[in-house]
Symmetry: C2
Subunit: 318 residues, 2 copies
């Protein structure tokens, strides 16, 4: 889209109803030009009604996000300075890895309308049809692999903050990498990294967020979408923009060494600390009270036999 | 090479001088067939003399290792069950990564006669001309990224043990990833990994060992080769085989959870623990006495201000 079209979309979003004359005077273009741009927008999936003598009304934005829409609303400094928007991809994390290996800079955003091979932790399937937010960010933090979990925590804080600000919902982080609403999973974060012993070469944060998408019946007991929870459509682009802004902020804090701040924010958004839990790891099943986070984001569980520090696992709340 | 040729090489190595008749009776092949095989071996770079009425004598094996030679002497169960031998490659670690990504199984060996872009830690150049040992192993340990350093320690123990057993030299491990002989660097280990937060997807151990190769004059103050130290040629294939056998053993111990054993062996081969050191890391320079290894292989340095746990860095002995 040209800047003029982006400006028209902005005005349509700002006003419930706006006259061609008003658009014309604000953007200094002829009413014929406006009419032509409106036709183009309709072709792109924008539902716009034109009421004679009253003006234009934006009924609905396209189902899928466009790069131009993202660029229009995004307020970050570095994150998403480069955007790779794909109609369909196996996995945004895999695509991001390929780019990262070729030297793609920090902050590049890879976003897809749908994923055919979306993954969660441990190669678990993540269903990613159209109308959800499926995206990955390439990061190159000056951290050791031990501290990679802290970037997952920044991402979780960002998603939780953005949902809290844009809706009336109260999402809660479930350690290590899920976000729940009313006890159901709405978002998963997959962090993957390439590293030497002491140095991360690149790190990919993949975020899968159920927004306006459908979820299969068999998952409905444990999963939900934002649309389902608030009973109306959510503006995916605004949500994405808000997540990226917060993520960039928390990531900056992490790079500045303010790890306590990240952990404090995480704790304030989490349902895990203070809960009675059972944690299943590769090696064992631990039952106790989740009492705190360890130095690198591990979960510290107080059991009958003392405190256990768990790097990662699957939690059940008791 | 066919199995017959491999058997002939084995006999030539076993006996200083062996008659065609003896070979013929041991391998059940005609003397004409033997003669033909000997001609083939000569073409492959084996220097073999034939003394009339006395027999064959192996003067010299080829300068570069062949896959067949490796297969002939190797005694491992899983390591090197698949061998990728390359006359020239940019970096065996990079080649290994590409294979690992495509699902290459654990234990595969990638070995090159020379590397054009050999690397050490932090993208430092590693000169790798012909006649050295430049190889990588693909591993898939059931470890978290935090514990990756323990596999580097297994590799360092294996190289040190193999050199100690095959020569009269006393190599010493210098934390975190070098092996020194008489204070000069003879071997470097580069560990690279692809991981999720809690799980290593694959890990590449790259070993660069100066054996019979030349080293540039400007490096001679700080580096050495095995040949230079013992003043004679070293059998690279035997050395490789011995390294792989020990490495497989230590790696098995690691997978069985015998971390203490790995650390004890490492300490017994190391010159670092007990030494006064200066450690330069990304963040700081720490001076003190290296007193121990931490849980994940970190170096614990006792300074005037207390103990410091260092994940990795560059050591100078004081």
């Amino acid at each position: 889209m040209t800047q003029t079209i982006i400006d028209i979309v902005e005005l349509l979003k700002k006003y419930d109803l706006i006259s061609g004359e008003n658009i014309s005077s604000q953007l200094h273009i002829s009413r014929t030009a406006i009419w032509k741009h409106i036709q183009q927008l309709k072709k792109k999936g924008y539902h716009i009604t034109a009421k004679p003598n009253r003006g234009y009304h934006l009924l609905k934005t396209p189902d899928t996000i466009t790069t131009e829409e993202i660029k229009q609303v995004i307020k970050t400094k570095h994150f998403a300075s480069s955007i790779h928007h794909l109609p369909i991809v196996s996995s945004t994390n895999d695509y991001a890895k390929t780019l990262a290996k070729k030297g793609e800079p920090e902050g590049s955003l890879i976003i897809a309308d749908k994923q055919t091979g979306g993954r969660g932790r441990k190669q678990r399937k993540w269903i990613s049809p159209e109308k959800g937010l499926w995206f990955s960010l390439i990061l190159r933090p000056k951290l050791t692999p031990n501290d990679a979990m802290l970037t997952t925590m920044c991402a979780a804080c960002a998603v939780t903050k953005a949902i809290s600000e844009l809706t009336t919902l109260k999402p809660r982080i479930k350690w290590p990498n899920d976000i729940l609403i009313n006890g159901k999973k709405v978002c998963g974060i997959l962090t993957e990294l390439s590293a030497e012993i002491d140095e991360i070469t690149y790190l990919i944060i993949g975020i899968g967020l159920n927004v306006n998408n459908k979820i299969p019946n068999e998952l409905k007991e444990k999963s939900t979408t934002l649309k389902q929870e608030i009973k109306k459509q959510v503006d995916s682009v605004l949500l994405l923009s808000s997540i990226l802004s917060s993520f960039e902020y928390f990531y900056q804090e992490l790079n500045n060494g303010n790890i306590l701040k990240i952990k404090d924010t995480w704790r304030s958004y989490s349902s895990t600390i203070g809960s009675k839990v059972t944690v299943s790891t590769e090696k064992e099943v631990v039952t106790g009270v989740a009492v705190n986070l360890g130095e690198h984001g591990e979960l510290i569980v107080k059991t009958n036999l003392g405190e256990k520090k768990i790097l990662t696992g699957d939690i059940s709340y008791l």
